[in-house]
Amino acid sequence: MWIVVGVASVFLLKAGAAKSLVPSKLQSLAELLVDFIRGIIQDTMGPSGMRYFPFISTLFLFILFSNLLGLVPGSFTVTSQIVVTGVFAIAVYGLSLVIGFQLHGAKFLGILVPPGTPGWLLPLMIPIELISQLARPISLAVRLFANMTAGHVILGVLFGLTIAGGLLIGWLPFSFTIVLYGLEVGIAFIQAYIFVVLTCVYIGDAIHLH
């Protein structure tokens, strides 16, 4: 985990050091990244969500870098441990609850009642909404963890088959590992993106009640 933090920090510090008007390659990469995160926040939370930009960008960079560093052969993927993703998910969900109660007080409990519900449906709707709220951190944690673990398990199995197959047939699983490796790089990006988008959606739900 410290390696991930270190690599991400060094990348951003180096990229942000020059601050030239005509950006270098590294700087434009960093600017692209910041612009990307800004776009996500604007799309899902609106301009009032920019207050949470530091938190969201830290989360995004950490998940992205740990996903990518996990793809370096022989390294360890932090996000393939459900403990790590679970803590992230609980932190995000707890933050959205804190923000909601801070902004709306007890009225925030109205998130359990969808707008336009007739009164006689309330005993049914409140448990359903409660379950769908509680499912949020779990689906956040499980999604990231499962995607990372599954990818690495598949890669491991295919490499094992390559070694078991030897020269005669081993080229077949080996070519699959190359294709899947590309897919895994894409998944590393997409999973970081999804985690951050959902974080924004949950915090946005807490800000704008209904």
Partner: protein, 72 residues
């Protein structure tokens, strides 16, 4: 074009959300039902059954709401 508006990237992101949303709500529903069964009422098959049905509804509702959000 900003990558967050890239149709392929954003579309893949949306597609990968829905599956776990369905599953997670089902798990939570079943777990809550099991808690009620074992610690509150001692009503063994009923809590889990009702919890699973509620979890299923909640999961479908979650997925439906997510789809509505990006349909607009």
């Amino acid at each position: 074009m900003a990558p967050s508006q890239d149709p392929v990237f954003a579309g893949l992101g949306k597609a990968m959300r829905v599956g776990t949303d369905l599953l997670a709500a089902l798990i939570v529903g079943g777990f809550l039902g099991w808690l009620v069964d074992s610690y509150v009422f001692d009503s063994t098959p009923w809590g889990v059954s009702v919890g699973l049905v509620l979890g299923l509804i909640a999961g479908i509702r979650n997925a439906y709401r997510a789809a509505q959000r990006w349909g607009a």
